[in-house]
């Protein structure tokens, strides 16, 4: 059977599975809709968090990104995993003990202020929307690439599927769907990686093959370093970014991860405090399977590209190169007309352009795997895109129905009405996200990366201080959030939209790029909120008691008599 038929069969089967699960586990109360009833086992929540976390970009683009960035790509590897340590140690257990449904819930209650709640709602919606718009576009691209439909048709198909299970299932439905999606995506990622690793290094474990030797006895990484330097690039294992920038970007991504509402909310779904801690560990474990494989795939990929294409005759290229040329992901232009392809850092001489996504997409063919594996990769990419989109949409709908409606506008609304409203907000969120997926504003791709910086500069510090400082008050928290957000947003807008020509390290403050500025925003948030809180009244007694209470794992039954 050909690839397209296999793709339709496998993708079709996985969709039937997701919808089946969504129907089986649909939400029947607001608690189930918002936090899956609080009864998810730590392992299941860990798996669901991993699927929620790993987007189409992690699945399709990250390995390729790293293969062109070499060492510099480490910012993504450490940045998008290290945040789970912060989550597990500093946030998840205490937020679980707090026991409400959303991040704005915590901010509003802990800082005894509707203003603080409102600032948090706006930040949560803004961060999630910028993030989800990119995801919907990703869904469209994956559909169009694998099912050979138009990107916009792809976005619409994706919207219909997501509406179906997010609206019906709520958090409970998407959690169990995400468990299935994780299994699909990790299997699809690992099979080609294992075979490529075997083919190149004789070691079936990509993480070890990464440091293994090639047929001629040289180490893979030494070989890649040598090949790249010869062609005029920086060696693979040494980067070209400044150290301070690598440091700040990594920190912004880590802290941002720990401040993203759609990640934090996952830890509200487990029954106990100790489950929240354990669950963060499982989440990272399941994420790490892909995240430690990706850099290996990246190194294998760049090695395969260079040795199979560079300096080879144009009419005797391997079949997979010719296949991917048709999609435009590999572009060849014989500038010096010598009938051979030259890969060079010098843009004027270079004759080969490779899209980063090829490093994952072409793997099955390079490894000579059967057509159904190619179809599996398609299903994996879709699983990654859909699970992330659903998680984000749920945060948006929760922010609208719970934080805005129930907690601010109409506190007396009945549970049934709130649930209905939550479902409508989910539909509304999907439609808005779908609109941006079909008509992507030019800056969406950029802004997605900045969602991390904004989360780092707004939520992370005030949640941390809400737990670790009894003295932190509403004045400090509100000022800190606003200063952190405005500073980070201002720096981003200045360099990315107002003066893109100045966006280079000569003009950056202290050599920190817009990608890393969230770290400085976070520091400012901490400083401003501490300074302001010193000069303003301490929080009332019942808030200090609340802080005491969330620090202790044992439930409300053994609360102290005051």
């Amino acid at each position: 059977m050909d690839i397209l038929t296999w793709t339709y069969i496998i993708v079709g089967l996985t969709f039937v599975l997701y919808i089946f699960i969504a129907i089986k586990t649909r939400a029947s109360s607001t608690k189930e809709f918002y936090i899956a009833g609080g009864g998810v086992s730590p392992i299941a929540n860990g798996i669901a968090t991993a699927a929620d976390w790993m987007s189409a970009a992690s699945f399709i683009s990250m390995a390729g990104l790293i293969s062109f960035m070499g060492y510099d790509g480490s910012v993504y590897l450490m940045g998008w995993t290290g945040g789970y340590v912060l989550l597990a140690l500093l946030l998840a257990p205490y937020l679980r003990k707090f026991g409400k449904y959303t991040v704005p819930d915590f901010v509003g209650d802990r800082y005894y202020s509707q203003t603080a709640r409102l600032v948090a709602v706006v930040a949560a919606i803004f961060i999630s929307f910028t993030y989800v718009a990119g995801q919907m576009r990703g869904v469209g691209i994956v559909f169009s690439r694998f099912l050979e439909v138009d990107i916009n048709t792809g976005v619409v198909i994706g919207m219909i599927i997501v509406v179906f299970y997010a609206v019906l299932g709520g958090m409970k439905g998407i959690t169990y769907t995400q468990v299935a999606q994780y299994c699909v995506l990790i299997f699809a990622y690992m099979v080609p990686a294992i075979f490529i690793s075997l083919q190149l290094t004789g070691n079936p474990i990509p993480q070890l093959g990464f440091g293994g030797t090639l047929d001629d006895g040289t180490y893979l990484l030494d070989k890649v370093d040598g090949l790249l330097t010869e062609l005029g690039f920086t060696a693979y294992t040494s980067g070209s970014k400044e150290m301070i920038d690598v440091f700040f970007i990594t920190a912004a991504l880590m802290v941002g991860t720990a401040g993203l509402p759609h990640v934090i909310v996952r830890f509200f779904t487990v029954p106990k405090v100790k489950d929240a801690r354990k669950s963060a560990g499982y989440a990272l474990l399941f994420i790490a399977i892909l995240y430690t494989t990706a850099p290996a795939v990246g190194a294998f990929g760049i090695y395969n590209m260079i040795t199979n294409i560079n300096d080879k005759k144009i009419d005797s290229l391997p079949a997979w190169v010719q296949n991917w040329q048709k999609t435009g992901l590999i572009k060849i232009e014989d500038k010096n007309l010598d009938g051979r392809i030259l890969y060079q850092n010098d843009k004027l001489k270079n004759e080969l352009t490779i899209d980063k996504d090829i490093m994952v997409l072409a793997n099955p063919e390079i490894a000579g795997l059967p057509n159904w594996v190619v179809a599996l990769v398609a299903a994996g990419g879709l699983a990654a895109a859909l699970s992330t989109a659903a998680g984000l949409l749920l945060v948006i709908s929760t922010a609208i129905s719970r934080d805005l409606l129930k907690n601010a506008l109409a506190p007396n609304i009945s549970e049934k009405k709130e649930l209905l409203f939550a479902r409508f907000s989910a539909i509304f969120a999907v439609i808005v996200a779908g609109y941006f997926g079909v008509n992507p504003p030019g800056f969406v791709a950029e802004v997605v990366a900045f969602a991390f910086g904004l989360a780092a500069a707004s939520f992370f510090p005030i949640i941390i201080m809400g737990i670790f400082s009894k003295r932190m008050n509403k004045e400090g928290a509100i000022a800190g959030m606003i200063v952190g957000l405005l500073f980070t947003l201002g720096y981003l807008i200045y360099f990315k939209f107002l003066n893109p020509t100045l966006n280079n390290k000569d003009n950056w403050w202290f050599g920190i790029s817009p990608e890393g500025i969230g770290t400085l925003g976070m520091v400012l948030n901490f400083l401003v909120s501490i300074a302001i809180s010193i000069f303003t009244p301490a929080p009332p007694k019942h808030i200090q008691d609340l802080v005491e209470e969330i620090r202790i794992p044992r439930g409300a039954t053994s609360a102290v008599i005051h």
Partner: protein, 90 residues
């Protein structure tokens, strides 16, 4: 009765101090393996080779992530023990 409450307050703050201490140690490990080994001292560590890997590069792309996982699972184990010691477990 008053004494009970005082004791409980006392043990609660002792529990919290013990928790902070564990956190501090673990965050030092977290910071050292990623930011120090993987970024600040990456050039120096790259002079050491471990199989086919330069050590600094390995920490940045593999090692730090393994350490993160160990840090979290150690924390889970240690805190479960601490919760029992201070009788605050669920």
């Amino acid at each position: 009765m008053i004494n009970d409450i005082k004791n409980e307050d006392h043990s609660r703050s002792a529990y919290w101090r013990a928790n902070i201490k564990i956190l501090a140690y673990l965050l030092i490990i977290w910071f050292t393996t990623s930011f120090l080994f993987g970024i600040v001292f990456v050039k120096e560590l790259n002079l050491i080779k471990m199989g086919g890997f330069k050590l600094g590069f390995w920490f940045a792309q593999q090692g730090a992530i393994y350490v993160f996982i160990l840090v979290i699972f150690f924390y889970v184990w240690r805190m479960n023990k601490l919760d029992k010691e201070f009788d605050v477990d669920e």
